[in-house]
Amino acid sequence: MIHIGVTVDGILRHGDVEPRTLLVHWLREDLGLVGTPIGCDTSNCGACTVLIDGRSAKSCSVLAVQVEGATITTIQGLAQDGEWHPVQKAFKECHGLQCGYCTPGMVLASVDLLSENANPTEDEIRHGLEGNLCRCTGYHNIVKAVAMAAAEMRGE
């Protein structure tokens, strides 16, 4: 077992983990942060996406021991003081989710995308979300939501 200390959704969490423990399993099983779901076992789907030090990462492809000292944001920690992030609001407004299983990853990947590119074109949004699969929406409304959130965050 290896000891790790990680700030998750604003709280410093300590844990003893096996070297092989995946970050997503540590979040879900040990910390009970089940808002981050698992959709595949080949790192294709992106459902488990979280922010590690502000950058999106698939938490099924990261070992828990690798995030020692890092700051992680999951979907459960994205809203600030009860105020939803503009991406969360836009997903609701644009009906950018149906079953909601891809949604945590899709939202956090979108947050990362917008931190890099404040005014993405449709094509840039589509390429930015290429690593996150959705089976319900056909992506149409997700793309609309990200564009709406971008405008909101630019103050338009």
Binding site: R20, T21, H25, R28, E29, G32, L33, V34, G35, T36, P37, I38, G39, C40, D41, T42, N44, C45, T74, I75, Q76, L78, W84, P86, Q88, K89, F91, K92, E93, H95, L97, Q98, C99, G100, Y101, C102, T103, P104, V107, E122, R126, H127, L129, E130, G131, N132, L133, C134, R135, C136, T137, G138, Y139, H140, N141, I142, V143, K144, M148, A151
Partner: protein, 792 residues
């Protein structure tokens, strides 16, 4: 931007209200089955065989049993009789049924079949122990190709049955032979509707736990069918039904994949009872690819007898349908769900339908979004383009010539269904306008003349489908062993809040919002005051669940009736309170008032409290205020639409690009247009994915080559365009709300539109078909084959 706040100032039906469900889904407060963590849980892992067909000679579990954390290991010998699934739709009297074991006893019949079960105290330890089980297999020949499987001397999937032919179902309508005599010509094609893997984003999962209350076992499972599952689990395990409670918590998509009774559910229940501890199993994605049923997989031999002027006379449909290794819940019935739809929206004098079900050593097939109707729609819409080509008629003109005209409804089509309403002219006119059809045809001609490598094709699909499974008598006549009704109870609680208990079981469709909208209009309370309870046989005891675009089409009727009954009971109490006759009380927007004296009034919330205290109820009126209804639908409903695809094909590389997609659907009255729109988008993505990207591939030994998400191509955002959509509204007359159903329309309509467009782009090269998915490889091959003198 501020969050949209929805108020119910006017009618709720028809408004694009933002979904109630979204708050928990967007903040990670969702209750997926895999989130459920009970003390003392044992984690179940399944050892799946690595080959398609083999005898089990020996299984050595001793090392696994000795491993850290392992509590038990079971093989087929421990449960030799226990079924893992069952078929509730034996489609013919002569059907060859099969036994699907919970754990294989002496033979495995598809790659992924289960040979051993491990229970351990931790998830990782459970999976670790699988590697310690030693299985000695003797390989048997795989049965992969359906046509080979039917040849004499073929290896058998079930050697005791003496045949791989599962059933032959026939439905002759009219006289097809006479049609061929009358017709000027018969156009014949073979279409392949390839095998697909449904792939909802949430893999399957189950938790079964003895709950200490009497002998109850609670089963949380990622299912579309908690109610049906409860009955089947009781029948398969022998545990009394009244000791089983099935809960479908938040379910992350289904698309038919979760319309099933699975061996993992049976095993979890049996082992929870046996050991007295919670049993938990969560599928990995790679397990999903082999262990959860697949969809489609038909060879379609289609003939269309036509007059030279384009008039359709008769159609012959001869299907081979791959059952896979075993029959699951509706495996044999799935191709027959399309049986009535092969004539589509067209008039003809004969339809001769035959379907042969075939066993192979592959994952069982079953319902996948549309279930039989996408296959039927593909066949009719593809053959229409082929007929148009052979006769030299514009494909849209051929459709117009043969479709049922709007003034001809209700129309009883050749398979005996009566389409209640429709307006194909209106949907088509709107779609053509949005698409810019004439301009694109002109561009196509220019490109054709210029002879560049990238050619343009236009694909058309003017489809209909049948929604709302189903009138129970109809299901009985088709040998389905259950009914097709739906239930709703609406309870007005003492505090004025409303509990709407539905038998439908959503997994992304937004029932919590849409059902609230319906009830809001009927009982006059705000949408936000209505809580929709679903997916729990403990809280919502009656239901037939969600599949086949039935939830609104059938369940919506029950909501309306239940609401009206509640309003009528409350009217009697209100009249008593207002000291007038019930006939003198008017009801509007949640308020009962005396006719001619509107100042004298009371609210439905006040009546709910009166019904609770029961201090002053009229004689003969029972306390509490609720209304309930169980509705058996009078008929199916028939949404329709016109879908148009502009496809660019690089004739040198075979690369296909979807440039523009327009669809105009008619699903009757829309409860929530935002949700309707979302359903259309998602359906389009899946139908387009069948046409362009997806396909389960097996090698000659029966190994699945597309066994994970890296190898099975689910489209991402870059693979799809934004869609241009609109609706026409032709209300259904078989449904009291005028609605029809929209869950499967996009998936049904889009596949032939795409392939028709691809073929249209390269028709001049001699191509008259492209195998799906229309990958660069398949398109390039089609072109090469045609150029080398053979039809593709």
């Amino acid at each position: 931007m501020t969050e949209t706040v929805e108020r119910t100032g006017g009618p709720a039906i028809g408004r694009p209200i933002r979904r109630k469900e979204d708050a928990r889904l967007l903040t990670g407060r969702t209750n997926w089955t895999d989130n459920i963590q009970l003390p003392g849980t044992l984690y179940m892992s399944l050892l799946r065989c690595p080959m398609a067909h083999a005898k089990i000679i020996n299984i050595d579990t001793s090392a696994a049993l000795a491993a850290e954390g392992v509590v038990a290991v079971y093989t087929g010998k421990d449960f030799p009789e226990l079924p893992g699934s069952t078929c509730v739709w034996p489609v013919t009297d002569e059907i060859v049924m099969s036994h699907f074991p919970a754990i294989c006893l002496d033979e495995v019949k598809f790659g992924g079949d289960v040979v051993a079960v491990v229970l351990a105290t931790e998830k990782y330890l459970s999976v670790d122990a699988l590697d310690l089980i030693d299985v000695d297999y003797e390989p048997l020949p795989a049965v992969v190709d359906m046509e080979d499987a039917l040849k004499p001397g073929s290896p058998l999937v079930h050697s005791d049955k003496g045949t791989n032919e599962c059933y032959v179902a026939k439905m002759p309508c009219g006289d097809y032979e006479a049609a061929t005599v009358k017709a000027d010509r018969v156009v014949k094609r073979r279409f392949i509707n390839q095998r697909l893997i449904p792939s909802p984003m949430e893999p399957r999962a189950v938790v079964a736990a003895p709950m200490g209350m009497s002998d109850e076992i609670t089963i949380w499972t990622s299912t579309q069918i908690p109610h049906v599952l409860r009955v089947l689990l009781a029948l398969l395990t022998g545990i009394p039904e009244n000791n089983l409670r099935v809960v479908a918590p938040d379910v992350g998509g289904g698309f038919g994949a979760k319309l099933q009774i699975n061996r993992e559910e049976v095993l979890a229940v049996v082992l929870a009872q046996k050991l007295g501890r919670p049993i938990k199993w969560t599928e990995t994605r790679s397990e999903h690819m082999v262990g959860t049923h697949h969809g489609r997989d038909q060879i379609q031999d289609i003939e269309m007898a036509v007059m030279n002027d384009g008039t359709l006379v008769g159609m012959k449909v001869d299907l081979l349908a791959d059952m896979g290794a075993y029959l699951q819940i509706i495996t044999p019935g799935t191709p027959l769900l399309g049986m009535f739809m092969y004539s589509g929206i067209y008039k003809m004098e004969a339809l001769d339908f035959t379907c042969t079900g075939v066993y192979t050593t592959k994952t069982p097939t079953d319902a996948y979004r549309g279930a039989g109707r996408p296959e039927a729609t593909y066949a009719i819409e593809r053959i229409m383009d082929e007929v148009a080509f052979e006769l030299g008629i514009e494909p849209l003109e051929l459709r117009k010539k043969n479709w049922i005209k709007h003034e001809e409804f209700p129309y009883t089509q050749i398979a005996g269904l009566t389409y209640d309403t429709g307006n194909y002219e209106a949907a088509t006119a709107r779609a053509l306008e949005l698409f810019g059809y004439d301009e694109l045809r002109a561009e196509q001609a220019e490109r054709r003349a210029a002879g560049g490598p990238v050619q343009l094709g236009i694909g058309i699909s003017t489809f209909t489908e049948m929604c709302g499974l189903a009138p129970s008598r109809t299901l009985g006549a088709l040998k389905y062993v259950a009914g097709g009704w739906e239930h709703c109870t609406i309870r007005a609680l003492p505090t004025g809040k409303i509990e709407l208990i539905t038998g439908t079981s959503p997994h992304g469709q937004g029932h919590e919002t849409a059902w609230s909208q319906i009830a809001s209009d009927i009982i006059g309370v705000p949408v936000e005051d209505i809580e929709v309870v679903h997916g729990d046989t403990g809280r919502a005891p009656y239901g037939m669940d969600t599949y086949g675009s039935r939830s609104l089409a059938v369940g919506g009727q029950a909501i309306k009736l239940a609401g009206e009954r509640l309003v009528e009971k409350a009217r009697i109490i209100a009249a008593h309170q207002l000291e007038v006759s019930p006939d003198d009380v008017e009801f509007a927007h949640g308020t009962y008032s005396v006719k001619g004296d509107p100042e004298k009034s009371t609210t439905i919330q006040a009546i709910a409290f009166e019904a609770f205290t029961a201090h002053n109820l009229p004689d003969g009126v029972e306390p509490t205020l609720s209304g309930e209804s169980t509705v058996d639908p009078m008929d199916f409903s028939y949404p329709h639409g016109t879908h148009l695809a502009a496809m660019e094909v690089d004739t040198e590389t075979g690369q296909v690009t979807l440039r523009k997609y327009v669809c105009v659907d008619d699903c009757g009255v829309q409860i929530n247009p935002l949700i309707v729109e979302g359903q259309v988008h998602g359906g389009l993505a899946q139908g387009i994915a069948q046409a362009l990207f997806e396909g389960a591939l097996y090698d000659a030994e029966g190994n699945l080559l597309t066994g994970n998400m890296g190898d099975y191509l689910l489209p991402s955002a870059v693979d799809l365009p934004s869609f241009i959509t609109d609706r026409t509204v032709t209300p259904s007359t078989t449904h009291p709300l005028g609605t029809k159903g929209i869950g499967e329309a996009g998936a049904i309509a889009s596949t032939p539109a795409i392939i028709n467009g691809v073929v249209d782009a390269i028709r001049h090269l001699g191509v008259n078909d492209v195998f799906m998915p229309a990958s660069p490889q398949n398109v390039w091959r089609a072109i090469q084959t045609a150029q080398n003198g053979g039809a593709a």
